[in-house]
């Protein structure tokens, strides 16, 4: 007979979410729901009526780990709606900013991942905070990589967290030749570090996958052969940067996208019937607690061709480089493989950048209310913003954020894994729950689902 176990809150990712898992007698997940329980801030609703310049600066505040994605996708959507082509050098600066952010974000996620992993060949889990070697060197390398990412972001984007330089029509400023050289020097310095880090992570991840069993709390659990596999598709628009409705060949299609409410997707009301006080740290939810994923989930469920899809590093590699490694570790390894490209692309963009070039379009139309979208390949996957701008004001603004896409996909990927390892699968998606939970969820009758909770 199946039992229900709930891990709430989940840890070592951004935001506030929980796992509601239906498991069999052996503790293997039969059906899992991973859902956001982050309060809805309603960014899309409150941006309506604001100027097209302000809205992307607000949506940047959706998340402080990947604010670059929301700023650039938001601005890109406004530009697509009004039909504004930005100058080449502005595009290059944005590319540099994008790469800098991906570098820092992946490095940060390494710190969140490592405590699940073992030092290869030993039974010692990795504690990134330890002053002991060999972990200390890795921690220092990660911090330097993040420092480089954030410094480059500051120079090209004005600010590492919530970049101030991008604006509708291009950028506020170009950078000086001295600043350009500084970015180049930093990238040169970071490249061998990034490659070393990539190789280290891949070794650690493969070691974990081949271990057979791992310890969670006081329990020894077996890693299933198809750990974190799912049969959903992949969605990505670009290996590095973005695609928009202004492109000659747009890589994303709004007609293939539908949105359903969590009410139609997640499980109904249940009672927690299995608890484990030893689950690190602080145990799972007490038996007898009521849980109701379809009402408690704070995101909508976006579908592509009627199905949830995976977005993120693996989706990009599958789409553009024929990557074929499946499962949670396949996704993790794909993420590490993106390290060098962040820096190579940054250097290529720098080579092409003209520090004296104009970075602002000569003319910025005010918009006639037509739909424009921009899909930015955020560190966590495809971040699509859709907007209608008329007379400089936002009429409609929708954010389809990577982790929103991944929520239902990852829920499917949980099946077949021991429930103690559900968080390891979830972490492979590098979830950013604040990102995912920025919206008001409306059902088919356009009634706000959150209101159902109030009633």
């Amino acid at each position: 007979m199946s039992k229900v176990v709930e891990v709430s809150p989940t840890t070592r990712h951004e935001g506030h979410s929980k796992l509601v898992l239906k498991v069999n007698d052996a503790g293997i997940i039969e059906r899992g729901d991973w859902l956001s329980i982050t309060p809805v801030r309603g960014i899309e609703k409150l941006c309506v009526g604001k100027t097209m310049h302000q809205a992307p600066k607000i949506s940047s505040r959706v998340c402080g780990i990947c604010p670059i994605a929301h700023t650039l996708a938001g601005i890109g959507a406004m530009e697509a709606s009004v039909g504004c082509e930005i100058p080449q050098d502005a595009y290059l600066l944005r590319t540099i900013l994008q790469c800098a952010n991906r570098l820092h974000s992946h490095a940060l996620h390494n710190i969140l991942t490592l405590p699940d992993m073992y030092i290869p060949g030993t039974d010692t889990k990795i504690n990134p905070f330890t002053p002991e070697e060999p972990v200390r060197t890795v921690a220092k390398r990660l911090q330097r990589l993040r420092e480089v990412g954030q410094t480059v972001g500051e120079i090209a984007g004005g600010e590492a967290i919530h970049p101030s330089n991008p604006r509708v029509g291009g950028m506020y400023y170009n950078i000086s030749p001295q600043a350009k050289q500084k970015i180049f020097d930093l990238a040169k310095e970071a490249l061998p570090l990034a490659i070393a880090q990539m190789e280290f992570m891949i070794a650690v991840l493969k070691n974990w996958e081949n271990r057979g069993t791992v310890t969670v709390g006081k329990t020894e659990v077996e890693i299933p052969a198809k750990f974190g596999y799912h049969d959903q598709g992949y969605m990505a628009v670009d290996p590095v940067f973005d695609s928009s409705s202004l492109d000659f060949e747009p890589k994303w299609d709004p007609d293939r996208w539908t949105d359903v409410s969590p009410y139609n997707w997640f499980q109904g009301e249940m009672e927690v019937s299995l608890e484990d006080a030893d689950y690190p740290v602080g145990g799972t939810t007490k038996a007898g607690t009521k849980t109701w994923p379809q009402m408690q989930a704070c995101t909508s469920v976006p579908l592509y061709d009627g199905q949830p899809v995976e977005v993120g590093p693996r989706a990009r590699l599958v789409q553009f480089k024929n990557y074929d490694r499946k499962g949670a570790m396949g996704l993790q390894i794909a993420r590490q493989l993106e390290y060098p490209d962040c820096l190579y692309t940054m250097m290529e963009a720098l080579d092409a950048l003209d520090c004296n070039g104009s970075v602002l379009a000569d003319e910025i139309p005010q918009g006639d209310g037509s739909l424009g979208w921009n899909a930015n390949e955020a560190p966590r996957g495809c971040d699509v913003h859709l907007a209608r701008v008329k007379d400089g004001k936002v009429q409609e603004y929708t954010l389809l954020v990577p982790t929103t896409w991944n929520f239902p996909t990852c829920s499917r990927a949980l099946e077949g894994a021991p429930w103690q390892l559900a968080e390891v699968i979830m972490r492979a998606y590098d979830p950013c729950v604040s990102c995912a939970t920025h919206m008001l969820v409306v059902d088919e009758s356009k009634k706000i689902v959150a209101q159902k909770l109030v009633q």
Partner: protein, 288 residues
């Protein structure tokens, strides 16, 4: 009250460079110091008051070449928001060692930014040299226009230099004419915000400098902290400045102290007055 702030030493000095002195306000201390620091790699750029859009209107710029630093010589008696490019200097200009010049209030802003960096990430550790200039009060651009064009009867386009000294406001033209008006006439044009300022000689700078206390063409210089002393000594050893002991020049620190005392006492009174400005209520005091 310590009217001149903390300092290690005080001297009268001037630049040894004729090129700097040709257009400098006094001894060319700030210009020469930045040129030297830039050359030596002590700074890799400096925030200075460059040329604005209108005549005699300054505009803050991040100078990374000697030409840009030289183009900012001379006092412009109206507001130049130097701190507005502080963050920009370490962003788009990518500077690691920023030199900065400012009036006492601007140096206060800088030090506050370093200690309480609200929205100023990665700025506080990149300040390499803060040069302060003495300041009694400042004017808005419109005030200066009024003083020069109406009171002194000089067109701004032919103005070569303005100076406040010996109780007068002086305007020199390119063609050699000199106008002067008593300072009393300029009081109503002062920025009201200057009336609560309790700092005359840029107490918080690494090195502060100004005209008062030294003869024309010379500057009074306070070397205030280890950083300032270190850089100053190197510059003097490199022959950038000629110096005289401040005790050997007239009118010397006595006059500086007198003016500092006057400024601080007067503005302290204004602050006290503001506390009881209304009936049973007062105006805000930023110092408490």
């Amino acid at each position: 009250m310590d009217y001149l702030g903390k300092y290690k030493s005080a001297v009268a000095a001037r630049s040894t460079s004729a090129e700097v002195l040709r257009c400098s306000q006094d001894g060319g201390i700030v210009t020469s110091m930045f040129l030297y620091a830039l050359e030596e790699g002590i700074i890799d750029g400096a925030i200075v008051a460059g040329q604005g859009e209108k005549p005699w209107q300054p505009k803050p710029i991040v100078a990374t070449t000697p030409e840009e630093i030289l183009s900012s010589r001379g006092t412009r008696y109206n507001v130049c928001p130097n701190m507005s490019v502080l963050k920009e200097s370490v962003r788009k200009y990518g500077l690691d060692k920023v030199g900065i010049v400012g009036t006492p209030c601007q140096i206060q802003a800088l030090r506050k930014a370093q200690l309480y960096p609200v929205g100023l990430r990665d700025v506080c550790d990149k300040i390499a040299l803060a040069m302060g200039i003495f300041c009694m009060e400042n004017f808005s651009y419109q005030s200066m226009t009024q003083i020069v064009q109406d009171h002194c009867n000089v067109d701004l386009h032919s103005l070569k230099k303005t100076d406040i000294g010996k109780g007068k406001y002086w305007a020199y033209t390119n063609r050699g004419a000199v106008s002067q008006i008593p300072l009393k006439l300029t009081h109503k044009y002062e920025q009201p915000g200057c009336h609560v300022c309790l700092d005359y000689v840029a107490n918080l700078a690494d090195i502060s400098t100004g005209s008062v206390g030294s003869p024309d063409g010379w500057s009074t210089v306070f070397i205030r902290n280890n950083n300032g002393e270190n850089i100053w000594n190197k510059a003097v050893a490199a022959g950038i400045f000629e110096t005289k002991p401040i005790e050997s020049v007239k009118p010397g620190l006595e006059l500086v102290t007198k003016l500092a005392t006057e400024k601080i006492t007067k503005n302290q009174k204004e602050l006290e007055h503001r506390a009881t400005f209304g009936v049973n209520k007062g105006l805000r005091n930023p110092y408490i």
